[in-house]
Symmetry: none
Subunit: 233 residues, 2 copies
DNA sequence: CAGTGGTCTAGACCACTGT
DNA sequence: CAGTGGTCTAGACCACTGC
């Protein structure tokens, strides 16, 4: 045989995927049983089973014990965008990631206090960090954290470790909320990210919850043209 | 035996998960080999293999052939943002969604032709639609489609159905690529979305692939302050 | 009842890594 | 080289479904 065999189960997966993508098998259709595919491909049932099981995990198939395997309904049209940590994003491109701490201290910003569930007499910890990709500033990270949940926040060395790394080690996160908006850069952001006047920013706001109150509230400012968030599936 | 057995591979998954969650096995640690787990649980290697393979798919483990299985670095978990269709997004807020077709015809835009894999003598179909939320314009949709894959595109009534709905009924999509950037609004976009001069836009670019070439290329322009993409998990 | 998928076994061969 | 994971086989028993 001259043919290159990329493992049998992958070949079966490709076969089924192709039938679905080409429209030969429509959503809701009953597809051949494991036994039939075993005969067709001349493999063991475990091999067919693995292929179909993985495709079920990928939401392309639906299986009902005792009945058969069906083409899954078109996926709900919602699409997912992946947001990787800034470090991974940059390292993934093979570039060098560095950061510079602009501010690390206490804040009484009323909006931040409200989000973190602190009353107006309290305070939050705040850090401001600029992230560089090959020495070009690409992200400004403005972070507020709950002082009760992260009492030693101000003692961290955020030139060595990123706040995200610290926080994921420190506290379990229950819920995360995001929003992405486009905004004009503030004067501070424009200066730190070395942007032209009027150049737009993308702002990712991320709130993490740990129980009843928000644990952190972060604003990530990206210079519009210098960084793209991308996804694929 | 009184114990309820929830299938062996699930038991092994639970065992490994517990070791990781309890901290007994730290990120980066080498965990017992398949062979050792086979001896410990008295099962076949395929059973252990399935458990570890699935945990690898769940990003809890990392496997290196010839070396071993390691506890994955939890920091590498990426976050996902969900982008729903404009209609769902608006309907989900209990608001009224309407749209207005601005343009429907042929285009020889060189960039679009290149993306769709058409040569410079060819043409693409183009549609431009403004989407309204309670009569406020919130999104400008600028779409290029491959005429061979959607020959009757120009005959559609996009006041009644959205292009996304049409396309998902028409052709199976296998690969999707996204990027989000912030941009200054063009004069046309500023007018259609009734924006102030200098107000920023968020531009979501989505390319769908169906086999070898791109099937569609869409630019979704959002007025910065009027729409947020949000996600949660 | 026969047919389906869910799981499992006890072997096997291979590709890869470290020494 | 011995040890690892990646894949596969040819059976098997079971739970479930529809008739």
């Amino acid at each position: 045989m001259a043919r290159r065999t990329p493992s049998n189960y992958l070949e079966i997966k490709a076969y089924v995927r192709d039938k679905i993508e080409s429209g030969a098998w429509q959503a809701g259709d009953l597809i051949p049983s494991e036994h039939e595919l075993v005969r067709k491909f001349g493999v063991a049932r475990m091999t067919v089973n693995r292929a179909l099981r993985e495709l079920t995990g990928e939401q392309l198939l639906m299986r009902v014990q005792g009945t058969g395997t069906f083409v899954a309904d078109r996926r709900s049209q919602s699409t997912l965008i992946e947001i990787r940590s800034i470090h991974e994003e940059i390292a993934g491109r093979g570039h060098r990631h560095t950061s510079e701490v602009v501010l690390l201290g206490r804040s009484t910003d009323p909006q931040a206090l409200r989000v973190l569930g602190l009353d107006n007499d309290g305070f939050a910890f705040q850090s401001q960090i600029v992230h560089f990709e090959n020495d070009i500033p690409v992200q400004f990270e403005d972070r507020f954290v709950h002082p009760a949940l992260f009492p030693d926040y101000l003692q961290q060395d955020f030139n060595a470790t990123t706040p995200s790394d610290y926080m994921t080690r420190r506290a379990p996160i229950r819920r995360v909320q995001y929003s992405i908006t486009a905004r004009k850069a503030t004067a501070q952001v424009r200066k730190l990210l070395r942007m032209e006047a009027g150049e737009p920013c993308m702002v990712l706001h991320r709130c993490t919850w740990s129980g009843r109150h928000a644990a952190t509230s972060v604003f990530l400012w990206y210079a519009g043209g210098r960084l793209q968030l991308t996804g694929e599936f």
